[in-house]
Assembly symmetry: none
Homo-oligomer: 254 residues x 2
């Protein structure tokens, strides 16, 4: 289970935090690290010093340019968020996240990404809206900004707790779950949806009014299966054909 | 409760770890720090940098020569231990420690000390034997040595969880949830959806193929809010207008 949990760091500025993250991950048995557009050289003397023997995690990390590249194959994407945002998103505690992991990862093809933002400014709203849920580590409201590696440590600890809890219990015999849509499939769907809504005159990107954010939140909350997403995309294609059909064509007349 | 939990660091070598400890403590609402025979200058530029705004905790720390001086007034002393020792001692997990805290600290005169050893060698047997219990943070057996500040972070997090759990017995102050769509509103939406899907030629009631059942299951799983359902109905209305628009009309030209 732990090998299918990916830690994603976006725009990290301090190599020491990458090293500290690697150490926290290896301590808790995690190994899959992705760096999105780091704002520093990831592998420096500081990295190796803070990694304290876990720098192989940094050597093995994938460095990519966008969040999509880092989480495209993931079935659950959870963003670490310190603040509540204008548009509230499903918010879970680290403990609830841990408790959900055995179920989320029951399908051997499932993958979970835990996404952490920049040291100074966290995740952007656009990044947060690409997540199924946000996890907030409870902190002192007067001093809420955790060190990046410390935040990874807390969530990695809850991952290990969940894994240990699972080892201690009987193997579950739940029905095999339907495959969930991956992050990449969901993003293709949202692009298709936005294109269609523009096509039928319902959505004006110049006056977005949080329309796409609301539709994202609604859809992500349902955790669509791959087959459901295929149906929704079929509906979009049929809708586009209506918007584009030549004058005089009868909608129902195939 | 949190103000009566003391973090005790014995023989710390790196000022950065003292700073990281101060940050982790302040993040979780702890404030009482004691340094026993530190092997470095506690307050350096590294301390302040890693403390990241929590260096007042280090300024307020008591520096003493012996463990006894640091924990003399404590009613429960728990030592952080990576290893199992020759003489087995009561061993608890971080979670069990947290769960015990409200009871341990019920008496306003009670105080708890969490004692952490040297970066390189931990606590001595003599120090461990001065503790009521040992707490072991579960780790990867192949890489079990946590960074000092990371270990403080995990235990401080469990302290805060325990405190929050205690607060939760009092009435919660959660944000008022958005009103969910009623059953009746949902049924009107599903009728509208089916009508629209027939209108665009996507759905044939004579060959239903469980289409509406699948869309119902997906939608109900998300527990739509009333406002979300209004958006979805708006999209259906715009879609119907496309399907019904007179020949030669431009979809985008309102």
């Amino acid at each position: 289970m732990l090998e299918r949990i990916r830690i994603v760091l976006i725009g990290t500025s301090h190599p020491g935090n990458i090293g500290g993250t690697a150490r926290a991950m290896h301590n808790m048995g995690l190994s899959d690290l992705a760096l999105v557009a780091p704002r520093c050289e990831p592998l420096t003397a500081d990295t190796v010093s803070r990694a304290s023997g876990a720098d192989h995690i940094v050597h093995g990390a994938r460095t990519v340019e966008t969040l999509e590249q880092a989480v495209g194959d993931c079935t659950l994407v959870v963003g670490a968020s310190a603040r509540s945002r204008t548009l509230p998103w499903p918010m879970i505690t680290p403990r609830t996240l841990g408790e959900r992991l055995p179920t989320e990862l029951a399908d051997p093809a499932a993958r979970v990404a835990l996404v952490f933002g920049r040291e100074d400014s966290g995740l952007t709203n656009a990044e947060l809206q690409r997540c199924h849920a946000h996890v907030h580590i409870p902190t002192n409201p007067d001093f809420s900004s955790l060190n990046l590696a410390a935040a990874v440590q807390v969530l990695a600890y809850e991952c290990r707790q969940a894994w240990l809890g699972q080892q201690a219990s009987e193997p579950a015999e739940a029905a095999p779950p339907q495959p969930l849509a991956s992050h990449e499939e969901l993003e293709r769907y949202f692009e298709h949806l936005e294109r269609t809504l523009i096509g039928i005159g319902f959505h004006d990107p110049a006056m977005p009014r949080q329309l796409m954010a609301r539709l994202r939140r609604f859809t992500l909350r349902a955790r669509p299966e791959r087959m459901e997403l295929n149906i929704l995309r079929g509906i979009l294609t049929a809708t586009e054909q209506q918007a584009e059909r030549p004058p005089g064509d009868d909608a129902r007349g195939q």
